[in-house]
Symmetry: C2
Subunit: 274 residues, 2 copies
Amino acid sequence: MNKQELFEQIMHKRSFLCVGLDTDIKKIPTHLINEENPIFSFNKAIIDATAAYCVAYKPNMAFYECMGLKGWSALEKTIRYIREKYPEQFIISDAKRGDIGNTSEMYARGFFEDLPFDAVTVAPYMGEDSVKPFLTYKGKWVILLALTSNKGSQDFQLTTDAQGERLYEKVLKKSRAWATDEQMMYVVGATQGSMFADIRKVVPNHFLLVPGIGAQGGSLAEVVKYGMNDQCGLLVNSSRQIIYAGKGKDFAVCAQTEAIKLQEEMAGYLAQLK
Amino acid sequence: MNKQELFEQIMHKRSFLCVGLDTDIKKIPTHLINEENPIFSFNKAIIDATAAYCVAYKPNMAFYECMGLKGWSALEKTIRYIREKYPEQFIISDAKRGDIGNTSEMYARGFFEDLPFDAVTVAPYMGEDSVKPFLTYKGKWVILLALTSNKGSQDFQLTTDAQGERLYEKVLKKSRAWATDEQMMYVVGATQGSMFADIRKVVPNHFLLVPGIGAQGGSLAEVVKYGMNDQCGLLVNSSRQIIYAGKGKDFAVCAQTEAIKLQEEMAGYLAQLK
């Protein structure tokens, strides 16, 4: 999916919501446990209930990997289900990978050839040659970690170099040369709203994937105020707040209600773009 | 496995070799392709041929993930095979993970509960709370990326802050407070031999996992000169040089020959410790 198509989806659905599929077997409703593939059953219900209100899904790889073969199977089924039934959805592998070139090549092969993801999150610590192998696939995206939403983001990302530049700013500036805004997005944590203004000075046109709304404590209004650009430029993720909104048999309806709440708020912000 | 046990294995085998299982279906001998699980068949032969000459194995997760369910199955079989037949081996998941706390918890659950790994490589970009969940397992290790062996390591790892400290040095210093040398090791790339001296000033007692010998161009003599401490303190990895030493039916013998070459060189260096 290219940038223009993503923007059109956003305007069509009046939503820039990404639903994070951080599906934990220990947290899903108990009546699903006896199903053949409980994780997939849960995801399928969540997806059917929310697809009209979001433009992207983001399975978090950790939650599937930790279950071994069963988890991997649930992941594959989930991705293929979205791809088939909701082909307009942008699917992100939240993997935070990054390794030497020949290894990143293998990760890219996995996410973009073996599985039909549109994008993968990548960690910048190992530099250019750890990121580039993901950029050789036409129409596929790298979403590079810049400023994350967790407490530990302060440990290294905010380190200031001798020229007064913070590490996450250096990541933005260097990586702009590796790919255009048609192939690269950035992860920018929503708990640090005021920093969006600084970030937009460096990357005015790129899409930003914003985790940290809801359970992680960020404010959507603030993200929009400082982060939205004339092509929206935002994918705002919510995981736990949506998928665990209900614990009973009506969990999918509860998830839908939460997704609609966010979509309606987003529709208001998007109306300003017209 | 604790640090003392690892050191004893090293002295017993007179080797600090780690064999990297970066097994690529496109590179294994063609006669294996028709086996039920070619990747596992390859790994099993390599392991049986090299176990006497190394103290650790390091499957690179990318090479298994990129094959989906088949890859994951080969990985599980490989790890369980090593654990059962060669329980004295230290098994490292080369995963370079790192995410917000609740996600790192899931990765830790996968590597340390679902699979019997001893250690996992972790990327430091997201800071303390992305690393700590891996440290809650007694006897298990985090191997944190410090200075890597690829060209891109220069992009951010060598950035100097206002106090003249490089990013990888900051990673070493901060993370020393997160765990002792009984639970933490560091990845230090072997192509930058002279930097081992600087690193030893900061972490004199920690084990260092050193990739980059062989195909990546590092010199073992230089690594030992600057990096060895009185408990060895080194695990030196070789992947391609060993596992792809032969392309025919004698591939395991060729791998063994390469492993022996490295082990014999290592035995010489270890003799200095006595």
